[in-house]
Symmetry: C2
């Protein structure tokens, strides 16, 4: 057995204990985690300072350095997140439906944990605790595999959380960290069949595509966001401009930010007159098709073919002119990633048809794509936004981290 | 583009039409399929006769030849199955939950089809129609890839169903058959990312494991059934013997048949006195551990290590003696395939604990494992029995062939 197989076997064994642990015990363990991360934050901050120093020396760019850095305020925020998870209802054990069949068998469908969830993520140390807390509350054991740059921070956080688990009477292997951050261990994790029930990659598009292609364990794809806004000829153009500005500029680095605007040709000139002044505030770079270039002139540059599939995560926007809504829908269904899509229109029938015809996790009428989020959707918290159709679609809260089990009460029935 | 990629692209295009087709139109297409398969059954029977003749010449064994053979009675049964699917409620378009958020956004979660479902199956021509009907009713396009032995039967059935689709005003590509039954096309189908939303293998354990390991498209594992019955020391032994006999002998070739019985040591002798006469009726071969051999003598042969993981699908039963229920549960969680597991006991607390601790799609108290079935569970029909935890677990009916989509009604909201 390799080290990772041993870790997988220990996780699987712990999963049977955690699956039947009960809400009170899981909440006590979460409270112990919140306490230990607060009381012994000096250790965590010291480990993080080493990570940050090493990353700075290695030339990490400032935005990434900032994401890597922990502060007492950020730790307080992370701990607050753990306490919010304590307050969420526990989905485990709920029976969705139960009925007595004609032969007298009583058949119920009970929510159970998925089992062991592996999460591969990049250099954000907060993810370690966020993900572990959501897994624990939903009765799932987690195997965390963070990025190399945050390894000291993650080791410290994982060790503290394991100490908290034991103090609450749960196996420490309910949470574990892959100690070796080489590509080999990531690859091995993707093939840990029999131990890993689900693998969730959290990170850039390359990571997600590689995992989906390579893994033999079941995968949930999350967070690939090439989102569109279609501005219809019957749109309120002021509203359209404000929504586009919000969806592009309120936080361009996230997956629910818009990357491409589709504008109906007849209102394009009027629309840009309203939208440009807003986008100018953030100096948004526009990459436009020919028809839009006629209007935008030197304010835009010509789009390349690759711009129609680009997830910029930056102040850049692809601009395309369409003849009507049907063309917009077809374009979205080919070039979107199935994340979040919005139509801006006053027309009732077009709104309904857009909701029907666009194939995405979240389809909006007259609102910003930025709302696709577990908190905004009322799930309380999320572990990611699924862009696939199997198992879960859209923001994944605690319920999306569960499976079901049929329990059948008999009195000797045979078939 | 290869032939299969073209087929995938055509399926994907058809999926957008079918997703919004409405129940009446889908039912009309199903009725057209039922009619054409009845009226033109002579064509189907003739194609099947060629398959059967070729298979007989190639030396196919009688049980398999029987499964391959169509008769007017069997066609009537298949057509009856299609009409039962018409009668089932359509899950598509149902809104599971809808709420108005504090910011006024109205967010609903609507059931939508998965999109394109590929199904790889072996030499049973009835699967072609069963699977196509369930996919069609749930708004999913299907790509069917049957076994080489049934290719003429399948080509005929697929051509007739496509004719029926067109007559009902739906694209013929809502149902298509992979014409080439080489290993290469099966492999290509497993990697048809972007066109295939879900791949369901239906067949033997080897097929399922290969697909789960190889495929880059999402897979649902179905029908791997190493099922156990645990006979507790507090069991009603008459009931236990009858349930074991039913679970082993009523239809040994199916996945919910029992493969291994775990018997508590103190009651083993009394239990076998009741169970053996029943198992003798079908001359069930017993493969037993040492403790059981002491009781069973020459009636059993010693089990090999591989017997503890074997799916016999035959009149063979592995027999193991255990010290208590905990040992049985641990054994099941290691050697089971997560399909169906049953405890026979009078003890309330053990029954509850078995239901909690066993990790399987269906866990029974005092009943035969043979009930794990879409019809028996009240789902109306099933496309297979999922043994994985992601997406669906246990019998998969129409609802399990759906995904969801968040639809959001706004009035200009930005974040």
């Amino acid at each position: 057995m390799t080290a990772l197989q041993q870790q997988g076997a220990a996780a699987k064994a712990a999963s049977y204990t955690l699956a039947t642990a009960g809400t009170a015990k899981k909440n006590a363990a979460l409270e112990a985690i919140a306490s230990i991360l607060t009381e012994r934050q000096a250790e965590w901050l010291a480990a993080n300072a080493q990570d940050v120093a090493a990353a700075r020396e290695a030339g990490m760019r400032p935005a990434m350095l900032d994401r890597l850095t922990l502060t007492p305020e950020r730790i307080a925020g992370i701990v607050d997140g753990v306490r919010q998870v304590i307050a969420l209802p526990d989905p485990i054990g709920r029976v969705d439906k139960m009925e007595t069949r004609p032969n007298g068998l009583i058949i119920g469908r009970r929510r159970v944990p998925l089992g062991v969830i592996a999460i591969i993520f990049e250099a954000r140390p907060n993810v370690t605790v966020d993900a572990a807390a959501l897994c624990l509350k939903s009765g799932n054991v987690c195997i965390l595999r963070g990025g190399r740059e945050a390894i000291r921070s993650n080791r410290c956080a994982a060790a503290l959380m394991r100490e908290a688990l034991v103090s609450a009477g749960l196996p420490e292997d309910c949470i574990s960290l892959v100690q070796d951050t080489s590509h080999e261990t990531a690859h091995e994790l993707m093939h840990l069949d029999g131990y890993v029930d689900v693998l969730i990659p959290r990170g850039g598009a390359n990571l997600i595509r590689t995992v989906a292609k390579e893994a033999s364990v079941p995968v949930i794809r999350t967070g690939e966001g090439v989102c569109h806004i279609y501005v219809d000829d019957e749109a309120d153009l002021d509203m359209a401009a404000k929504i586009l500005f919000n969806a592009k500029c309120s936080r361009p680095s996230v997956c629910n930010a818009v990357e491409c605007v589709l504008v109906q040709k007849d209102i394009a000139k009027d629309f840009w007159a309203k939208a440009l002044p807003l986008l100018d505030e953030k100096a948004v770079e526009l990459r436009a098709d020919e028809a839009a270039l006629d209007i935008l002139g030197t304010r835009a540059r010509p789009a390349a073919e690759s711009d129609w599939d680009a997830e910029y995560d930056d102040y850049i926007l692809a601009v395309r002119t369409v003849k009507d809504m049907d063309e917009a829908v077809s374009f979205i269904n080919v070039h979107g990633t199935g994340h979040s899509e919005s139509i801006i229109t006053r027309n009732y029938f077009k709104a309904q048809r857009f909701l029907d015809a666009v194939d995405a996790a979240a389809v909006y009428v007259n609102a910003s794509t930025r709302f696709t989020d577990g908190g905004e959707f009322g799930l309380g918290a999320e572990i990611g936004i699924s862009t696939q159709k199997m198992h879960a679609r859209g923001p994944m809260g605690l319920v999306e981290l569960t499976s079901c089990k049929y329990v059948i009460y008999g009195e000797g029935q045979v078939r």
